[in-house]
Amino acid sequence: MTAVLERIGFVFLHMFEETGLWFRMLGQTFRWTFRRPFEGLEWLRQMVRLGIDSIPVVVLTSLFTGAVLALQTYIGFRRVHAENFVGSVVALAMLRELAPVLVALMVTGRVGSSMAAEIGTMRVTEQLDALQALATEPVQYLFVPRVIAGLVMLPLLTILGDALGIYGGYLVAVKLMDANPVIYQQNTFQFLSMNDLWSGVIKSAFFGLILTLTGCVRGYYTSGGAEGVGRSTTAAVVEASLIILLADFFLTKLLF
């Protein structure tokens, strides 16, 4: 019994420790963002890597999510003769929930993991020590450009995901289920407000911060050679995904 309690206590302590560390690094990242020199080129490079290079993944994910959502709701709604609302449901679900979360999870898998692996490899090959020895603060040089890229590019990718999801739904409803294209388009935008768009976009900025910072922190605190890099990469994806899903609920509840 004592051993079980000890184990539970250890898990909770570890969780508090990790949470404290995450927020400490968030504070440091914020402080170093406003200090010279500004790494403009590195900011742009990370934006391309996180944003532009993620477009194919976002296109496929959003298009097919919108398509399958339309397919499922059409089948269900037909039973109660509510097919006309499929467009509204797809648009609302994509804008408020699916595009922000799915884009964030896909980018976490693609970019968050590579950030942890890259910075982790720099740690085990002493490149982070070399950076410091060259009077360069790793948080400023590595964390800041990545976090900025997450904050800027995730909302943009989410807007792209919104549009493609709605278009995917339209294609399935109109081309596959023979819905009237004019009525479908009218219903898609009839019940939407700007708040639906902004709620998803603001959430996605938080998700961008979560996935980049988690990748950076996991990489930065890597130890134990190649095996350690593997552990950090896995932890970065799992932790960022979990935090995104938890944050999604609380942000939706609190803010919108």
Partner: protein, 269 residues
């Protein structure tokens, strides 16, 4: 008109001008890592222009000592005085200003593998000087010539041999014309001939650049070649120090076992 030195050296005070003696003073430093005491009451002084080599077996705290001197690690107890300033009391920003006067060459080079050789050497110049792109290019070429490695600017670190990576690491370390040079195991993993070439290069750099140098190694041949003074680190503190000749004549059985590379003796008991 700026002199060449003014262009290359970062803004801020020059250690050399006001350096009291000793330039580096490690005073009663203790450090525990992962629950294991690594440094215990470590004391070392390094005079201006001196080449100190710290020798010792694996896991005795050599690299940890070097990382304390450049401020990558902070001691649990004790002080590290560089040019009269206690770096343990400095903030990270103050420490960064001091680090610009250091050049450190890492064990495997620690080159940034996302950058070319040119970008690696130009990195500190771009960040800490006001040099133009043409001046940076000229300085990178000069540094590569100093380590006898011309025409590799465009290569990636992964395309270089172990010895070449070390030399590029040296070139990057001297790019800001530092007053203090630190070498972490400069010849580990290299064949005896390349090790000797690297040792000669360190001697040459030490003489031409007029720096204070601290090297750590467990290669005694290299140590005797590059050292003005040799110190042996064992169980986290210095057990012997002296000129290479004095060190070789030491009556300390730990030192003799290490120099001779014998399996039997106090080091393995």
């Amino acid at each position: 008109m700026r002199t060449e030195d003014e262009m290359t050296r970062p803004a801020g005070r020059t250690l050399e001008v006001s350096m009291p003696t000793p330039v580096i003073s490690v005073q009663h430093v203790d450090k525990t890592l992962g629950g294991k005491p690594v440094l215990r009451d470590l004391c070392i002084d390094v005079e201006r222009g001196e080449s100190l080599v710290i020798v010792g077996g694996s896991g005795q705290g050599k690299s940890v000592t070097l990382k304390h001197i450049i401020g990558l690690l902070r001691p649990d107890r004790g002080h590290i005085i560089i040019a009269g300033q206690d770096i343990c009391a400095m903030t990270e920003r103050e420490l960064n200003r001091y680090r610009r006067h250091f050049g450190m060459a890492f064990q495997e080079g620690a080159l940034f593998d996302s950058m070319s050789v040119f970008e690696n050497i130009a990195f500190p110049l771009r960040r800490h000087t006001t040099m133009t792109e043409a001046e940076i290019r000229a300085r990178v070429e000069e540094c590569l010539e100093q380590v006898h490695l011309p025409n590799v600017e465009g290569k990636r670190p992964s395309e270089l041999s172990g010895g070449m990576r070390r030399r590029v690491g040296f070139a990057r370390a001297i790019s800001l014309k530092p007053e203090i040079l630190l070498f972490d195991e400069p010849t580990t993993g290299l064949d005896p001939v390349i090790s000797d070439v690297i040792a000669e290069l360190i001697v040459e750099m030490d003489q031409t650049l007029n720096t204070t140098t601290i090297s750590i190694t467990h290669d005694m041949k290299v140590a005797f070649k590059i050292a003005d003074r040799v110190a042996m680190l064992h169980k986290g503190h210095i057990v012997e120090e002296g000129t290479p000749e004095e060190f070789q004549r030491s009556a300390n059985p730990i030192v003799q076992q290490f120099i001779e590379g014998r399996a039997e003796g106090p080091l393995t008991e």
